[in-house]
């Protein structure tokens, strides 16, 4: 297991990527590496700005987008009270970070692997691609609504085979679903990894189960502790038992979770 810790670190950069009417801004937040020696892409961390005081008692969970020796980067969309404040951070501000938390994606070598990202779900795949032992076996399919420049897509498409499909209106959905399913079929003997909004994950899960395709999906939930203690982020596992998304996930085998 990857060693985890809780540290106070400084913000290095808050890069504004773009804004969109609903909900709001897209930013990349880079903080000092809190001493993580390794992590498994798909894992997440909890972030809480030191100056928040007591008004917001919880940290916020974010998928770890990329890690290098000096820094850790998160890709964040402003959706509420916490993300609004995180997007306003400035270099040298102090954040409390605990992680890496949860279980990441499998990364088998020399296995054709389809990365299915929906919107913000692209976040963990940046580090996944950078860390993968055989990136030539990876294929990224990215479904998005705001234009591509809101996302760290370009940096990723330089490294692996990558396609993006934009949903301009809900009329585009049947085509997008067909593309996702066709790509999954192409990887029926490999591995499919998915991260994105719940309806997107349901599509992936249903198709994976129907065609017996090996797939892993990453869930998102509101969390208070991030470490498996508060039981506020549970979902049902394959047997219908409540399990913590933070500790037993956020990445689950498609057959092992009800969404």
């Amino acid at each position: 297991m990857v060693e985890r810790n809780c540290r106070e670190v400084k913000v290095r950069e808050v890069r504004f990527l773009g804004t969109w009417d609903e909900p709001s801004d897209f930013v990349e937040l880079t903080v000092e590496n809190p001493g993580w020696e390794s992590y498994k892409p798909g894992q997440f961390a909890m972030l809480r700005a030191k100056h928040w005081g007591l008004e917001l008692p919880w940290g916020r969970p974010f998928s770890i987008s990329r890690v290098d020796a000096e820094s850790v980067t998160f890709f964040i969309q402003v959706v509420g009270r916490g993300t609004t404040r995180l997007a306003r951070l400035r270099p040298e501000d102090v954040v409390i970070i605990w992680g890496p938390l949860g279980n990441g994606f499998s990364a088998p070598t020399k296995t054709p692997t389809l990365l299915l990202a929906g919107g913000m779900g692209i976040a963990p795949f940046r580090g996944y691609i950078e860390n993968h032992p055989s990136p030539e076996f990876l294929h990224l399919l990215f479904a998005h609504r705001p234009s591509l420049d809101h996302y760290p897509f370009l940096a990723m498409s330089e490294k692996v085979r990558a396609e993006a499909i934009q949903e301009r209106s809900s009329d585009d959905l049947p085509d997008i679903i067909a593309r996702i399913e066709a790509s999954m079929d192409e990887h029926a003997d490999g591995l499919v990894l998915a991260c994105g909004p719940t309806p997107f994950l349901r599509t992936v899960q249903a198709h994976a189960l129907k065609k017996s395709i090996r797939a892993e999906i990453s869930l998102e939930k509101t969390m208070a502790c991030g470490v498996g203690a508060c039981l506020g982020c549970v979902c049902k596992d394959g047997q219908g038992k409540h399990v913590q998304v933070c500790a037993r996930g956020p990445v689950f085998a498609a057959a092992d979770v009800q969404i």
């Binding site: 985890r4 502790c225 203690a229 506020g232 549970v234």
Partner: protein, 305 residues
């Protein structure tokens, strides 16, 4: 060096900081963030005789300076706790307090029997105050006669282990509930459990929690907790454990000034997972601020007008 040791109700703790039930899992979840042996005590997640799945989602909501929860005592059951968790806990060094939840008086007795037989369990905390379950919980905690009855049953089967009764603030007179616990034979009372609350989402026009209502905790409730602990300390002669919105060593001392023997830290464990350890580190400094080097001297030294 300031001595932080506290002794009460037959317990000897290395410091007065205990983690509160439901906010610290079974302790093991936090072992990467601090040495569990440094804690005065750990009250584990509420245990029932049989495993419980708890309430449907969503179960938690952040509120200004606090949070609501309606977990519904999801737990693996007492046997799984004793088999899988307790042996991994540093129970020789830190008091492991078992929080017990049951729906009937005989069930409480049975649970006490199972837990009290374990060397690693230092004390029993009787949950007669959970607001998130339809049976048991605060249904017991709102009736002093029931509190006395449950306490008596648990005490009879506790094999001499200290019995702590955790009280609900969702009552007209918490001091009479504490009195009932004392009359029933409790060795200590702990208070307060969460305040019954609610949150609403105007976009969906639904309650934020699937359970509709939930328990409010965090710094928002500290003034209510202080008032309750004050009233109870003036009423009963058994030791009191203060709970409610404690996030700092200063907060802990406020409860001790009222007369609390120790405190429990709950929601603060979500501020950051090492917060309870930081409060312990900070206690000596906060005591100096209160111009004292002794918890015994500070305890109950509140100056009333």
């Amino acid at each position: 060096m300031i001595d932080l040791r506290v002794e009460f109700a037959g317990l000897v703790l290395k410091n007065p900081i205990i983690t509160a039930s439901g906010t610290f899992g079974f302790g093991l979840e936090f072992s990467s963030f601090g040495d569990l042996k440094r804690l005065g005590g750990i009250v584990v997640k509420g245990l029932s005789l049989k495993p419980r799945e708890g309430n449907p989602m969503p179960r938690i909501a952040e509120t200004p300076c606090g949070m609501l929860n309606a977990i519904g005592i999801q737990n693996p059951g007492v046997e799984a706790f004793l088999r899988d968790k307790l042996p991994l806990l540093p129970w020789r060094e830190t008091a492991i307090i078992a929080n017990m939840y049951a729906c009937t008086v005989p069930e409480f007795g049975e649970l006490a029997d199972v837990l009290a037989g374990e060397e690693g369990v230092a004390a029993l905390e009787v949950n007669v105050s959970c607001p998130n379950v339809s049976q048991g919980g605060s249904a017991f905690g709102q009736d002093p006669a029931q509190i006395a009855k449950v306490t008596d049953e648990v005490k009879k089967r506790a094999k001499g282990k200290p019995v702590i009764v955790k009280l609900s603030p969702n009552v007209t007179d918490i001091a009479s509930c504490a009195q009932a616990a004392e009359d029933g034979g409790a060795d200590a009372v702990s208070l307060i459990n969460t305040l019954l609350g609610m949150a609403v989402d105007i976009r969906t026009r639904k309650p934020t929690l699937a359970n509709v209502v939930g328990g409010l905790s965090g710094p928002a409730i500290k003034p209510v907790a202080l008032r309750c602990v004050h009233q109870v300390c003036r009423k009963v002669s058994i030791p009191v454990i203060g709970i409610g919105g404690i996030v700092s060593a200063e907060d802990a001392l406020e409860f001790i000034l009222l007369g609390a023997s120790a405190v429990q830290v709950g929601t603060a464990n979500f501020l950051r997972p090492d917060q309870s350890f930081r409060i312990i580190d900070d206690l000596p400094r906060a005591m100096i601020k209160a111009r004292s080097d002794s918890l015994d001297e500070l305890r109950g030294s509140l100056k009333l007008p």
